[in-house]
Symmetry: none
Subunit: 194 residues, 4 copies
DNA sequence: GATGAATGAGCTTTCATTCAT
DNA sequence: AATGAATGAAAGCTCATTCAT
């Protein structure tokens, strides 16, 4: 729909403004006028490009997921030829950073926005990395004791993303980032290898 | 605040109504009138006991956390003298059931309700079980390779609760309940023991 | 729905305010806040009793139709035993007065309000008077040349109400109220009688 | 304003689009963008020729009135030398057809558009035919019992246009088009002639 | 002249909260 | 203690109109 250059700029400004306004005030606490003001455009313009408040959140989420997925995939490709003992901590760390940076999108937004649940399942960051993870595990398959690689990937995904999200939401005074990454990596390694 | 018997009944009715209304419509979608109607009382009465909509959610959450914690502690006590290989799967399974039953409270509610985040950290179900878990791990300490038991407990908490929550939100076609419990337990065991 | 006395008063105030606000500014030009202000209540109260702006218009119309119908029927009953030559001018005059007083409702409102058309056909003032008109014509049937009384009634209805409405909308410098009533009555008489 | 050929084409396109859009959605329901889209021009162009939404309606009405008036005048001229008994039914029928075809303009539009009432009195279709009607009645003056021809014309105008409009708005199950035309013509004849 | 992106006042409607009864 | 009518700020959204390109 946005054909001209100015329109593209407007859409970008709205998306960027939405990112910060939603992050600061939550979905329900953010009004379309807040977003429009922050973007330096009028509400009317906002509604020219997004038919519904919800649509802004959806667009933002899609964008964030896409970008985060790209980053993570790249990090995994970097590790492709390093041994599991080295690679897994790096990947876990990358996951933590990405989820922290996108905490609001991955954790908060999807639950607050009514119509966002359905189509967003396969939007989740993890889906982007499955094939890459597969390649990485394949690379080291002789070390891996779990017979079904798909099961291994799925479990590791739940383990890492779940634990990281939980930690980010409920940080422990016992454990800092570094330590969590270490322990988590250790746990993953012990799960995977004999 | 509720001193008399009738008052207690009213509060309970409201809490119960809130539980179902919030579950069905979400926090933002539920109105205080919905709740009052479902409870069979007037809005006025509702505000007699809860100064703010948020307070209802808080009370509900506290209640749910308390009850779920009690259940889980009991299950752990049952396992106190069973070996880790047997006990851990039972506990993981119990955690899954409890979190599924309380999914809305533990996962959704806390994010939607603005003022619920801060004071709720130590409200989380896990806090109730830490001492019991400690006792359980202590019981089997000679098997456990992680030097610091507190670290072990914290990590296991993140691993189990995180993975389960993530699974409940994004169930995998690859893995059923049973399998997840098995794999997760396996992973925990391997993490804990040498 | 309105059970208490205060509620009834509020509903009446809203209806009365709506009557004047709609008349002055038209349906589209009237805002629910205008009406609430004019009624001396809050918008919230307005929406407590009327779920939609449209519903106010519908209630008003129903009310106006009912009242006007009652008045007209009474006037006709008064004429029941007077000869057509005398009675018809009286009735035509009454119709003109009623339609002038309710001009906005009968002519403007029904067209402006989207959801008002359907159920309102049989709400029209005429429907209320058909049976009474029938009785009146029956009374004088030996003078009436139109074989089918139902046809006579329908035609007279269109003639009188139509001409009066048109006149009220597009008054003529040629003809005053009195004259129109006289000519119209004459025309009706000539149509009916041999 | 429209001097060039292309401009004229644009204006016509807008007017035609407006005709269909207004008819389908009503005045309030039609947006200037709807109209511009339907006309295949931009909103900017639309505002080049019409300073205000209302002006489009006014232009449309004027156009419709003019065209309908022309048609009706022609029909009357055809009847000029036929006796009243034959001519009047033909004219009544023509009026019905024209008003049905233009129902939205003559009946709906004028009430919905705020600034259309005042100047539009003499825009009404009837004004165009008054002189022609005068000529027709003059032609048959010896049959006509109403002393003042102007009064006769005015009354007949109200009778015919009013009854037809009313019938079109509230059609009767009792009476079809044919019958109404017959009865109405009869009534007019009886009113006019001795 | 034409385009269509941008504007923003203003609308209808909701709902947490208050308070007279 | 309980009721529920009343409140009104504020939200999402529309659309006539303007104006830079």
């Amino acid at each position: 729909m946005p054909s001209q250059q100015r329109a593209r700029a407007t859409v970008d400004a709205i998306l960027q403004a939405a990112r910060s306004v939603f992050s600061e005030r939550g979905y329900a606490g953010a009004t379309t006028n807040h977003i429009a003001n922050a973007a330096g455009v009028s509400v009317g313009s906002l509604y020219q490009y997004f038919p519904r408040k919800e649509a802004i959140a959806a667009a933002m989420l899609e964008d964030a997921v896409f970008k985060a997925g790209a980053v993570l995939r790249e990090r995994m490709l970097d590790c492709m030829h390093t041994p599991l003992e080295e690679g897994i901590p790096l990947i876990v760390k990358a996951v933590m950073e990405l989820r922290r940076a996108n905490a609001f999108f991955f954790m908060g937004l999807r639950r607050e926005v009514p119509g966002l649940r359905e189509g967003s399942g396969n939007l989740t960051i993890e889906s982007f990395m499955t094939s890459t993870t597969y390649a990485y595990f394949q690379q080291h398959h002789e070390q891996i004791r779990v017979p079904d690689l798909d099961v291994a990937i799925t479990v590791v995904k739940y383990l890492v993303a779940g634990a990281v999200d939980f930690y980010l939401e409920d940080p422990s005074p016992q454990l800092g980032d570094e330590e969590l990454v270490a322990e988590l990596s250790n746990s993953v390694l012990r799960y995977l290898t004999a």
